[in-house]
Symmetry: C2
DNA sequence: CTGTTAGCGCTTTCAC
DNA sequence: GTGAAAGCGCTAACAG
């Protein structure tokens, strides 16, 4: 059995209050300080955060929910969040939805029951009601990367629509007129990016045949299948916009397997400057998202909400939402040719 | 403020004990059951796991420590562990060392203070003493993928030495005699794999010039730099063994950039059948690790230890260790040619 | 089956 | 600066 504050009371002869005060950085006589420190050392004492949490009503832990932990994008986000959180002395309780909304709902309830001080969510697509248990419990929630269509919440995102329009314009400026988009319309990010694509095409007065819009899931499979479909068209596009990392991978996979060269046979613009881009013989031209900034800003807002709540003695005040929009930039590779 | 068991006592007129019993699946009169359920519904009651944990001395949470959460290998492991844990009604508290032993030590202390019921660790290289706080607190620990040289602990691993020897033999059988290995000797896994390589070469009576052993870190950079060094040799090997996923990526990146084709110009055998293998034009021949089995077995042993501890009323008995060795298999790609 | 009571380990008034 | 005492929300005997 680990030792408790009581044991160190026996050891030192001091009262619980004094010891607790020391533990929380309060002032105690130098003499007592030494006594306590010696006892802690001797007894291997470690604070029981559970007991502390029960009385302070704060766990110094935030819950982080991601739609898929095997997705590199989320791995990087988690890394950045963890780094940032530790600066505040906070830990994180990570839950993984595995792209399943029901599991996500279950996970959120789990976090609420665990009394996390706040939640950062990179949500699965779907109604925002999965977060209801958090709202009922007055736990601040920050959305990251994705937002909900049905409710406005604190969030940190990029301007997906603009970014996708930029990517598309990049192709248009290089003479492309027949451009296809491979996207996922199921979640916020994908839909916005799709819209950005359409914006740019319309602004340029370019037609988009229906079959050039390949909407599906946010996945390697979809990228792979969609690219293969495109390769089968009699009337092939000269360029393709891929709207996320998973799709990038699928697209490149399909191209390589079919021995179709890019940019010679078809140009490609993708999203996210992660691992993959580094390993390809022909580097992808992509829209890069500022991963570290995601973590920093997300944690910053959350900490702000948590202290607001504290100042407001325990209840969240609901007056508007913070919406941080991070800027992106195009990383120029060699996957686009002039036409 | 969320409602408590007391509120539902007021609401129903029942005693705390009865309500608690219901909450924990005990038998109560149907009438009372309805009353309680109605109150729970009405008050949006959620169990306070913190309070529960304080008295039961169990949090139904396990801590999972990984050496680097941005490493896809760990992402997959975490996914599998989470899936498996949820079958037992357990949640996980994930901590990420970012390859920093000091951060890992801090993380373990954090988990201990959070009173997790057990810890699964995919450790950073280094002395096992980072785990001491867990041992002092009598928290069961399961090592996954990697072991320590300085202490024997419960673990689930693959036979790294055998697997690497298999991979090497695969090359030898195809006529390769000049084979280089790119590895990391810093952690358990890397060292074992290096040894397996040496085993196979010695058994075949093949010489390994010193410069054909490129030991460095478990990283993309190392794979990349090492492969570039190899390409600069006057006396080039005809094949290379890459001993982990990160190194695979670096190797392929270097090859592609130098426009050196594999297997035509050099053969490659790698480790781990993850994402990358799917996207390469020429698929890598690799040793595949059973990711799901890692999660299943790791959680299984941990649950066993947790219940043993309970039966032994709260203290871990230390009689030997469980060591699960999972089998691997070679996935044949097209990155090796006969010579 | 139900209620009373004690107590998990800690923080926090409030006197002193 | 220190101590006594109450209490966070819940479970676990023990009586009834």
């Amino acid at each position: 059995m680990p030792s408790t504050i009581k044991d160190i009371k026996e050891e030192t002869g001091l009262s619980l209050a004094t010891i607790s005060k020391y533990l929380n950085g309060g002032n105690v006589l130098p003499r007592n300080k030494e006594l306590i420190e010696a006892a802690i050392e001797k007894l291997d004492y470690q604070v029981n955060e559970i007991a502390r949490g029960l009385v302070t009503n704060s766990t110094r832990t935030v819950g982080v929910s991601v739609f898929d932990i095997t997705d590199v994008f989320n791995g990087v986000i988690l890394h950045e969040i963890g780094l940032e959180l530790s600066k505040y002395g906070y830990g994180m309780l990570i839950v993984d939805a595995g792209n399943d909304p029901e599991r996500e709902a279950k996970n959120i309830r789990f976090l609420v029951n665990k009394k996390v001080d706040g939640i950062i969510s990179v949500p699965v697509a779907g109604p925002s009601s999965v977060l209801d248990p958090a709202f009922v419990a007055d736990i601040p929630v920050i959305l990251m990367d994705r937002q909900y269509k049905d409710r406005s919440l604190d969030s940190v995102v990029i301007n997906n629509r603009e970014a996708a329009a930029d990517a598309t314009r990049y192709l248009i400026e290089r003479g492309h007129k027949k451009i296809a988009v491979i996207c996922s319309k199921g979640e916020y990010t994908g839909l916005e990016r799709y819209r950005g694509f359409v914006d740019a095409m319309e602004d340029a007065g370019l037609e988009v045949p229906k079959e050039f819009i390949l909407a599906g899931s946010h996945s390697i499979e979809h990228g792979y299948n969609a690219m293969n479909r495109i390769l089968g068209f009699k009337n092939r596009p000269t360029a393709v916009v891929s709207t996320n990392y998973g799709i990038n991978i699928g697209v490149v996979m399909a191209l390589n397997e079919a021995k179709v060269n890019y940019p010679e046979d078809i140009s490609v613009v993708g999203f996210d400057n992660l691992m993959l881009s580094k390993v390809l013989k022909t580097k992808l031209t992509v829209v890069e998202q500022p991963m570290e900034r995601f973590g920093q800003k997300g944690v910053e807002i959350l900490m702000q909400r948590i202290s607001e709540k504290k100042e407001n003695n325990g209840s969240l005040k609901k007056e508007g939402h913070i919406n941080i929009i991070l800027s992106t930039r195009m990383i120029i590779g060699a996957s686009v040719k002039n036409v």
